[in-house]
Symmetry: C2
Subunit: 340 residues, 2 copies
């Protein structure tokens, strides 16, 4: 299997990390996707010691270089266009989340997906699905450890540090709910096993330490089609002195128990008492995607999940924008963010 | 100081527990407030060995028995009427929360409060303000340990067990957001130091094990007038095997740090690193109320807090009712739940 890489703004490290255990995969070409390609090549060489071509123009690369699969990690505002260009050529796509920064752009991807050759895949990098504690929790929930899921609480808290300029503009960043919050909403999607029915959100860029539009604080609340209620707390307030970059947590309460992931551990309380759950192996989200294609299996994340998650994130962000307007007479929770 | 007690449905244990260390307080009379008074008298005698009068009719008691302060813990739907009767007679009131089950009833209390003799106090039993870990967190936040507060996440999760019949009807219970969630919203009010600007909520009575209207699951999201964003997760899904009845948690993120209360401990992360905070002494919410009256100090909770909290809880509950309607075209977050 040949793969081409576009861009290195976000989590292309998922690909780098998993290349070593995917001997079936050859990197045929890379493009900076608008950013410089040389530093990207330097980094890649540390993980991959074969030849690959360099392109400035990613479209030219897609036309010329052999590839079955494309990783998209260019400027956030170009994710959608890049996905569409890949899908037009019926290439599988492994794209940084969110795959689109507007609902209009998301629709373009969905259209291109429907028109691509049957079996073409597109997923976003929801890497925390394969993180050992979260995956262990999901397996437990999937096997009925908490009964029927009723409520999901998610937390994403990051250190801000000093972010690059593109984080400071809504047009090139997309917003904290889609960027950081996508993981939180993905857990709600994944653990509930249902599509989103209604989402509501607040966010604020107050006290953002000269980071322009970037929202430091956000909250999302949602109701799923199957009745599950979810909350997500999303922020950049994690102190620099904290032991890890991210404080990632999820709690899933069901009719027969409660399971929580926090600090890399997974704790279950049900009729069997309180106990830690054995962590899953770290499968890797890129490894999973490639293996699923090679083996013809569904994989841990689908195109439908990707579209649904992106739609929910963008609907929540847009709702938060509306709710934060000072002169608002009435603010509305986004209804039916799912396409039926 | 003489006190009269009305009812024993909820947390009148706050009074019982603190009587021993308030030798200034004499119980003059008690009334079942609609429920039988004899079992109430039996329980009181275990904590208080002097004489007191028994009344079936609480109004008659208020007219006849000497008292400066009245505890109200009757049927939830009578809290408001009982508060009004006390305030009409300019008695201080220590009332189970929520003090009213409807916004109309809340207004009646506020009217009676404004017409009572200056200095008359009315507070609700937000007992967790004096719980050692929560109080320690509040002291730390108040002293600037996390800088300017930006986000507050609250969790209340209780064991359901088998509840008495009055919990099963909205008309006699009021809803899970006002009953259980009032603590969560109170932390948001207290830690933010601001009034509520906007609240939104979902709730659901699904899978409530034959508990009628009782909502098992609820989520509230709010924006405060000072910009703080809050989330509250409220449920009855705590498994019977869990070590404690309630899983009470709060997280306060600010410009300079994050503080969390969970499992009775308080953890601070700021420029000083990660550390546990020494717990406060257990002052007791009733003890605090009486001492504040005797000493002429503000006390840990005010009438304004009580009204604001009740208004937010009821607005959230009403919003959740609206949001859960299946045929809803558009659902709205309650705007300006505060009276300006």
């Amino acid at each position: 299997m040949k793969i081409a890489l576009i861009g290195h703004r976000g989590h292309w490290g998922y690909v780098l990390r998993d290349l070593a255990r995917l001997p079936e995969v050859e990197v045929s070409a890379i493009s900076g996707g608008g950013d410089a390609v040389e530093p990207m090549a330097e980094t890649l060489k540390k993980y991959y010691d074969k030849e690959f071509a360099l392109y400035d123009d990613y479209r030219k690369m897609l036309d010329e270089a052999e590839c079955d699969l494309v990783m998209v990690d260019g400027p956030f505002e170009l994710h959608a266009e890049m996905c569409v260009e890949c899908l037009k050529r019926s290439k599988h796509v492994f794209c940084e989340k969110p795959v689109a920064l507007t609902l209009e752009d998301l629709e373009k991807i969905e259209d291109a997906y429907r028109q691509a050759a049957p079996g073409t895949r597109v997923v976003s990098m929801v890497g925390l699905r394969t993180e050992p504690a979260f995956h262990a929790a999901w397996r437990a929930v999937d096997s009925g450890a908490v009964g029927k899921v009723q409520m999901i609480n998610a937390r994403k808290s990051y250190k801000l540090g000093q972010r690059r300029d593109f984080y400071k503009k809504r047009s090139s960043y997309g917003g904290t709910i889609p960027w950081v919050g996508s993981h939180a909403l993905d857990w709600i999607l994944w653990f509930s096993g249902s599509r989103f029915k209604t989402v509501g959100a607040f966010h604020s860029s107050a006290e953002n330490r000269d980071h322009g539009d970037l929202e430091m604080t956000a909250a999302v609340m949602c109701q799923m089609e199957n009745g599950v209620i979810g909350t997500a707390s999303i922020d950049y307030w994690r102190p620099l002195t904290a032991p890890t970059h991210g404080d990632d947590q999820v709690r899933v309460a069901g009719t027969d128990g409660v399971i929580e992931v926090a600090h890399g551990e997974c704790t279950l309380i049900n009729q069997g008492g309180v106990r830690k759950i054995a962590l899953s192996e770290d499968r890797g989200i890129f490894y999973d995607f490639v293996r699923a294609i090679l083996d013809g299996t569904p994989g841990i994340v689908s195109a439908e999940d990707t579209f649904e998650l992106t739609r929910a994130c963008l609907a929540a962000r847009d709702d938060a924008d509306m709710n934060m307007e000072d002169d608002l007479e009435e603010c509305c929770i986004q209804q039916n963010c799912s396409q039926k």
